[in-house]
């Protein structure tokens, strides 16, 4: 079932990857001084990409598990590497989130910033890379896109960031590059093992998924399933990217240092790529490995929920507070993934979108506060509601979504994840419930600290402007729609998720 049929001959996904690159090329050709032209170019490019992705969302066939908008061309035949792009329930809505967040990020980019042209250029390159990560179905191709996201991110944080930006960017880079090598090793090993079993060397996901590797090896005298080893190789890369506790330590520095537009992508999307990787590769390729190692990662995820929540409780810097809140929420996604059942994984998928929407909105509003008040220290802000009630209302809705209020989107994902966890890891579900309570605590402390009580000194604090409300509007709309009527989401992804969890 779909709303309409898109012509199959058009390479839709290739276009989706190339569109931002084309925009980047135009930006490159533009003179640096033409700031408003560059801005329009950047925004238009992301609008076109969003429209294209919207077309794909509507043309997606619901109720089938297989890949859609498939593009398969041989590339390096000798090595079994191919150019394979496709979309299924795992990546569908993330593509939409990706396109939406890039549009918002470019919309809030200030054309007066130094080296604006290069900034827009890198953002568009980043969009091409993240889109590629989401649609690539050849493991080598995926790896290339995966690593390709790093360079623009590193430069964006290092050159346009704030505070200890170089330190933060470098730390992030070290972490992720190191972690990615484990994945590379695992990819190579997987292909080799598969070649042994089947006689053909291939890095194609859809082939590998049909021939799960078996067997076990001795590691330091202990017999370990090969699936477990390969699982761990991929898991390191994805756990760092998400990040899962305890490999999250690059996060506070990197989030705090990021310039706002980059931060929207970084927190809203890049973290989801890690979660997506778990679903696409770990759960799909190594179902047995997941069954053995998953419970430990689920435990780490819940630890992360509680740890992030506790850290959020004691932060006074709003940006850092949201960074830890983000980590806590990512724990829910991790928990959902490793339940390895329908409800948990669907909940994780919904929560991935929710998290992107909520965290982006939180960071946006924090940035708006900082721009007005000159500080984002919770203890120095007070009573802003009196000066800017509309702004306060916007921030409140975002906060409520963040603490998982039923009726808004955060609840849907958390509910499904906890329900999925309840039947597999009961104590972990209870731990997650504790995380929900802590979230109410730190989120309200954040909202009340900044907006309520009597203002400390007569500072000017401007009311929300239409442009700001306009940027937040799509995010707020998603919070309400996904909260009130989320049925369309599982309807679209269920077939794929069912196939993943029943492997």
């Amino acid at each position: 079932m779909s709303w309409y049929q898109l012509p199959a001959t058009v390479p839709w996904l290739t276009i989706a990857v190339l569109l931002p690159l084309a925009g980047a090329l135009l930006v490159l050709l533009a003179p640096s001084a033409a700031r408003s032209a560059i801005k329009q170019l950047g925004v238009l490019t992301t609008v076109f990409t969003l429209v294209l992705v919207g077309l794909l969302l509507g043309g997606f066939q619901q109720g089938t598990a297989g890949l859609q908008f498939d593009e398969h061309h041989s590339w390096i035949t000798n090595l079994g590497i191919s150019y394979h792009l496709g979309v299924d329930g795992l990546s569908l809505f993330l593509l939409g989130l990706n396109a939406l967040l890039f549009l918002l990020a470019l919309a809030v980019t200030d054309p007066k910033m130094p080296r604006f042209k290069e900034f827009v250029l890198l953002m568009l390159v980043l969009e091409a890379a993240t889109t590629g990560v989401l649609v690539a179905l050849d493991l080598i191709l995926f790896y290339v896109f995966w690593e390709a996201t790093l360079v623009p991110l590193y430069l964006l944080i290092g050159a346009w960031g704030e505070g200890r930006r170089i330190y933060a960017a470098f730390k992030f880079l070290i972490y992720t590059v190191l972690a990615s090598f484990f994945m590379l090793v695992a990819i190579l090993a997987l292909a080799a093992l598969n070649a042994n079993q089947t006689g053909t060397l291939t890095f194609d996901w859809s082939t590998l998924v049909q021939h799960p590797v078996t067997g076990s090896v001795d590691v330091l005298g202990i017999r370990v399933g090969i699936q477990v080893l390969l699982f761990l190789g991929f898991a390191v890369a994805f756990a760092v990217k998400m990040p899962l506790f305890p490999v999250h330590t690059w996060l506070p520095a990197a989030y705090t240092a990021s310039p706002v537009p980059t931060l929207l992508i970084f927190a809203g999307l890049i973290s989801k790529l890690g979660a997506y990787g778990f679903l696409r590769f770990n759960l799909s390729l190594f179902p047995d490995g997941t069954r053995s190692a998953g419970p430990y990662l689920a435990g780490l995820a819940v630890t992360g929920i509680l740890y992030g929540a506790l850290m959020a409780l004691v932060q006074s810097d709003l940006k850092r507070l949201v960074a830890y809140a983000s980590m806590s929420h990512l724990g829910f996604i991790g928990l959902g993934i490793f339940t390895q059942n329908l409800l948990g994984v669907e909940g994780a998928l919904i929560q991935m979108i929710n998290h992107g929407v909520i965290i982006a909105a939180l960071f946006l509003t924090v940035a708006m506060i900082e721009r007005r008040a000159g500080t984002r220290d919770r203890t120095q802000l007070r009573g802003l509601e009196q000066r800017a009630p509309l702004f306060a209302a916007l921030f409140l809705v975002v906060s409520l979504a963040a603490l998982g209020l039923p009726g808004l989107n955060g609840f849907v994902g958390e509910f499904l994840i906890m329900l999925g966890a309840w039947s597999r890891f009961l104590p972990l579900a209870v731990g997650a419930g504790l995380g929900v309570i802590l979230a109410a605590w730190y989120v309200l402390r954040m909202y009340q600290g900044a907006f309520q009580e009597a203002p400390s000194q007569p500072t000017a604090f401007a009311e929300a402007r239409w442009t700001e409300a306009g940027v937040l509007a799509p995010l707020l709309a998603l919070m309400v729609v996904l909260g009130v009527s989320p049925a369309f989401f599982p309807a679209a992804v269920q077939a794929t998720v069912q196939a993943v969890v029943s492997r």
Binding site: Y167, F170, F181, N196, L313, L343, P389, L405, F411, A487
Partner: protein, 630 residues
Amino acid sequence: MSTSQLALLILIFPAAGALLLAGRGWRLPRIVTKLVGPGVVWASFVVTLTLFFNNASGDFTYWTWIQSGSFNVPFNILIDNLSIFMCLVITGVGGLIVTYAVGYMDKEDGPSYARFFTYMDVFVFSMLLLVLAGNFVFLIVGWALVGLSSYFLIGFWYHRRSAVLAARKAFVMNVIGDVGMILGTFVVFVSYHATTYRAVFKALPANDTSSLELAAFLLLVGAIAKSAQIPLHTWLPDAMEGPTPVSALIHAATMVTAGVYLVGRMHPIYDIAVYAHGAVAIVGAVTALFAATIAIVQTDIKRVLAYSTMSQIGYMFLAVGIGAYSAGFFHLLSHAFFKALLFMAAGNVIHAMNDEQDMRKYGGLLKQLPRTSWSFLIGSLSLVGVIPFVGFFSKEQILGAAFSKPDASLALAVWAFGFITALVTGFYTGRMWWMSFAGKPSPERPVEHPHEAPSVMLVPVFILAALATIGGFIQTRALGFGPHMVDDFLKSAVGAQSWEGGASEVIASLVTMALAAVLFLAAYRIYIQHAWKPWSAVVPWAQRLLERKYYFDELYDAIIVRPMDGLARGGLRYVEDPIIGGIVTGTGDLAEAESHNLSLTETGYFRNYVLVFVAGAVVVAILILARAGS
């Protein structure tokens, strides 16, 4: 219109009112707020009355909220006599209270005024959703939205730090309850594969099982949090920071009775899960006495009423806990009348006293505020349980049911608690009324010549006073004869009480009433005539214990709040900060010192890392390939 459309309309009116006031309220003329705010609640009341007179019932599904595998949650509304009963209370008493607020909140400026009625309408909407929801998930949605609106209203005067803190406390405690409900719903779903009441109740086992007990206990956590029962009660007294109409609407008449509704709605579960059911009765009995004793020493008139509310809800828990469901709901109705009356009359006093809430600074108001004083007396006598006021019939029906339940030592034990509570209630109510209205004006009184409230605040009070006076005659079962309209009406939804009382029950009731009345009068001797030594002079340690509310706040601070805070701070200082700084800081700092330009390749350390790891990766890959190939 069909019943399903009418049912939806009950929800739509307050939602639309809230949206209108939230969106445009501060720009529209004040009169619009005055009309829309209470108007939408009355509109819902009229619709509910229509359903009531049509004997409507049914289970209506509007859309699928989510469906995934066997997990199917529709948005459905359940119309039966219980939900209609609750809607009547919410919109009827609620309508009176919101109307009263038109006058009470008149001091607020335009935006604040509109904001207040937005919150009130949001609350009414949420509460109606809670009682109309036909499945566990939307019950939770209503449940949480009610907690949210309570948060809004408690923190309405957000420039006051105490209000902000009270609001947060209420919200977090309510979230504890929400999580209990969510987990309870999980147990229900995992055991019975359904989320709608109808399907779940049909699938219940005939005999008690451990999972059913677990579900019932987890749901009870939600009920306890929302209804401010021990041990999740500490938010309610603090919630008196909200404006007085809020206290009347949320913290007396409707929201805090949600726990009673929950147990009643889930009665098929509690009828089987006997341990959880017993726990309901015990929690109620203990809270009833516990809260009543604290009320003795309160000096803030609203806090006396707050503790009295906890205590009276304890009675309702007690009733539904022993299976006397309709008695519990009769008391819910009766309490909504007289407690809303007491709060609003107290509001009139506070209004006249320039927002002073300390009863010690009142005195002698009877002559100056006669209408409010006499109304307050009607509410007080109803609270004490004096014939013929409504409180007598409802409370004594509960006590009678507990007294006469055959072969139930638990029922007799909770009766004893209820009996003592009734006496304590007589005393603290007497103290409150005499101190405020009798005797001579206090020298510290802020207003020498107070004025009665405007009629928009007096008329709702009079209506409730009338209801508190004659309302009891719809059900006089406590006397052993006469009509029992509430029981009859609710029979189809919560079943009939399975046992009948006898003459001894009626005698016990009359004795209880007589003793409570005596204590009501004794308060006059102590606090006005000073004829007897106050009890606090005799047992000062008890006075201290009660003034500190049995040290619950201190206890929670010591065992939860501070350890949690310490854990978080310790974690930050000894774990997070060192790790963040530690492991890669060395390299990071060097990198920072070395490279201030942004070329990747010039970052020497980075290149080294890459080299080392490429080499490592290749070695590992070769090893694995070799082994796999062998």
